[in-house]
């Protein structure tokens, strides 16, 4: 049986009659990376704030390691590490002194552990500098360091890749995977779709405070959302004509000089290719494309339009 380290049951947040989070339920398994995905204002951060007790829960329950956050906050928080939005640090202190602030008040943080964490986030060279001299990426890394100090088994990171450069994101991803493999449950939120796809085992898509669906990332190849792109050198419309004559049930689409067919069956693909070749059409390439989480997300949240519009980070 899988163990759940974090469970939300019908969690609701209302502020002044407005429902921000509406009956949200999900469970995070031990050792998985769980993503909260949604457009800005969907209620991701509000949900995270309720989990860590920064705001009250209007209705429903949050259990961390089977301990109710509302009833037994201190015990529930002992094995939780978190960054809520940007990691805000004490500018007037050094990175090390910032870490010490949290090391002091968390259970069982040894000097070795502190050194280990600093090395892990690669801040050894700047740890004794004042935080006000840090770049956003360095702050983010110090934020991750403080969240990991006490070896939490539930790690909650709100927009963790904000401000990290590609190398930093890559490192973070690898490290989170390592943590997860060692049994830590990691919850990350983001509105960056591609990133979630690369990082998470499962992704909950949230819109307007409601759960739209939960996706298993690793399995999506098996789904039917596969399209085959035929690159045509010549008249694409003629190619489309050829194929639709053969089988009227095929869904055909033209994008530029590509003919897109919705099918996942290898035999069908080979068959279609043969038909095209026989009709004297030059096929210069065949490509199998899985519908990305991104596309599915946009489809579901009906935002449509340019992907980049959604992916622009708004948090500083």
């Amino acid at each position: 049986m899988t163990t759940h380290t974090l469970e939300l049951k019908n969690v609701t947040k209302r502020i002044k009659g407005k429902t921000i989070v509406d009956g949200l339920s999900f469970s995070v398994r031990e050792g998985e990376i769980f993503g909260l995905l949604g457009p800005n204002g969907a209620g991701k951060t509000t949900t995270i704030r309720m989990i860590v007790g920064l705001i009250s829960i209007t209705d429903g329950e949050v259990l961390v390691n089977n301990v109710n956050v509302r009833q037994n906050y201190e015990t529930a928080m002992e094995r939780v590490g978190a960054i809520v939005e940007n990691p805000q640090l004490y500018d007037y202190m050094t990175g090390y002194k910032n870490l010490m602030q949290y090391a002091r008040i968390m259970p069982d943080v040894t000097q070795e552990r502190i050194d280990e964490v600093i090395k892990l986030v690669d801040l050894e060279y700047a740890i004794h500098d004042k935080v006000k001299t840090y770049s956003l990426g360095m702050r983010q890394r110090l934020g991750v360091a403080q969240a990991l100090l006490h070896k939490p088994n539930v790690l909650i990171l709100d927009e963790p890749t904000n401000g990290l450069d590609p190398q930093g994101i890559y490192d973070l991803r690898n490290y989170l995977r390592l943590l997860a493999n060692n049994g830590t449950s990691v919850v990350v939120s983001s509105h960056m779709l591609a990133e979630m796809q690369m990082m998470c085992d499962r992704v909950a898509i949230i819109q307007n405070g409601k759960m739209v669906r939960i996706d298993e990332i690793t399995n999506h190849d098996e789904e039917k959302d596969v399209k085959v792109h035929f690159h045509i050198d010549g008249d694409v419309h003629q190619a489309k004509q050829v194929l639709s004559d053969g089988d009227t049930s095929l869904v055909l689409e033209i994008i530029g000089n590509e003919l897109v067919v919705e099918t996942a069956d290898n035999k069908t693909i080979a068959d279609l290719n043969r038909q095209l070749v026989l009709a004297g059409i030059l096929v210069v390439g065949i490509q199998r494309k899985t519908k990305t989480l991104e596309e599915r997300f946009l489809e579901m949240t009906k935002k449509g339009g340019n992907v980049n519009e959604v992916a622009i980070p708004v948090n500083k």
Binding site: Y73, P87, Q88, Y92, Y102, R104
Partner: protein, 319 residues
């Protein structure tokens, strides 16, 4: 769990700020400065004939008194003149020079420096909660395995600790500087006061100094509670510092405007300056006594702290 480490953290945060060191340094510099200036500028032989000087003062006061009475002048002023005359006469009779200076006299003279301490304490207390909100660091602090009241309590105790420590540093510095400048003796030195019944009395200066030290602890506690509350309610250090300073400095003004109202004695303003009540001289509101004022302040402090803790416990943190 490890509540004391929360307190350590707050203490470290206070002392990691550069301004904290200025807050400690400035009063010390003033204490040294005043003593040095006094030593350099005052001719110590100037008051050798202090009895003649006082006699001259008495004559002048008497003349002023007559004039004021003729013109039907201010009653408060008349009382003050009468009291001055009596005190000076007593001084001459009993050979108590008002110009004799020792470290205790210096401490009594420097007592108003407590206003400065109050001011700095207000800044620290007004900042300790609100700055965590404005910088967003409160989030990093509240998600720890501690109930909110424990975190707030650590901040309160740290601020009080800072206030008291600063006051003690100032007291010791004043005693030391005063002693070096004027000698450490004078423990039995007296000064003259007019008690309520118009009687002239001698009192030990040391008594006044220690009463003042003790009362300042009470005043500091009230100031901390006040700016702490406003800091928590409005999450703004400027509002907290503003309101607390207004209460401290504009108190006399408010009292003057409202002095004919009966309820004035129950306000915070009327009770904020306890040191006036030690001798009961120059007291604005005659009804006030030390036990009464301390009781009023205690009630206010309890209520303010109760409000602070309740609000903090329930607040949704969106910083």
């Amino acid at each position: 769990m490890k509540w004391l480490s929360l307190l350590t953290n707050e203490w470290i945060k206070i002392f990691s700020r550069l301004r904290t060191w200025f807050f400690i340094l400035i009063p010390i510099l003033i204490i040294i400065g005043v003593a040095v200036y006094d030593k350099v500028a005052t001719d110590e032989t100037a008051h050798e004939n202090w009895k003649q000087e006082l006699t001259a003062n008495i004559e002048a006061d008497k003349k002023a008194l007559e004039d004021t009475k003729k013109e039907d002048g201010d009653e408060f002023f008349i009382e003050m003149l009468e009291s001055n005359i009596k005190q000076n006469e007593y001084a001459i009779e009993n050979n108590i020079s008002p110009y004799e200076k020792t470290t205790w006299q210096y401490m009594k003279d420097m007592a108003p420096i407590s206003f400065l301490i109050g001011l700095f304490v207000i800044v620290v207390a007004g900042d300790i909660v609100s700055s965590e909100f404005s910088k967003g660091t409160i989030k990093m602090l509240l998600i720890r395995p501690y109930s909110r009241w424990k975190i707030l309590l650590s901040k309160l105790i740290a601020t009080l600790g800072f206030a008291f420590a600063m006051w003690l540093v100032v007291i010791v510095s004043t005693w030391l500087v005063g002693g070096l400048a004027y000698g450490f003796g004078g423990i039995d030195q007296t000064y003259i006061v007019q008690s309520e019944g118009g009687q002239i009395k001698e009192k030990l200066i040391v008594e006044y100094v220690f009463a003042n030290i003790g009362l300042e602890f009470i005043e500091l506690t009230v100031l901390v509670a006040l700016s702490f509350m406003i800091s928590t309610l409005f999450m703004s250090n400027s509002v907290a510092i503003g309101v607390a300073m207004f209460t401290m400095f504009a108190g006399d003004l408010v009292i003057m405007l409202l002095q004919d109202k009966e309820w004035i004695i129950y306000t915070l303003f009327a009770n904020m300056d306890l040191s006036v009540l030690i001798d009961g001289q120059n007291q604005f509101i005659q009804e006030l006594t030390l036990p009464f004022s301390i009781t009023v302040l205690a009630v206010y402090t309890m209520v303010m702290l109760a409000i602070t803790f309740t609000v903090f416990q329930k607040r949704d943190v969106k910083a």
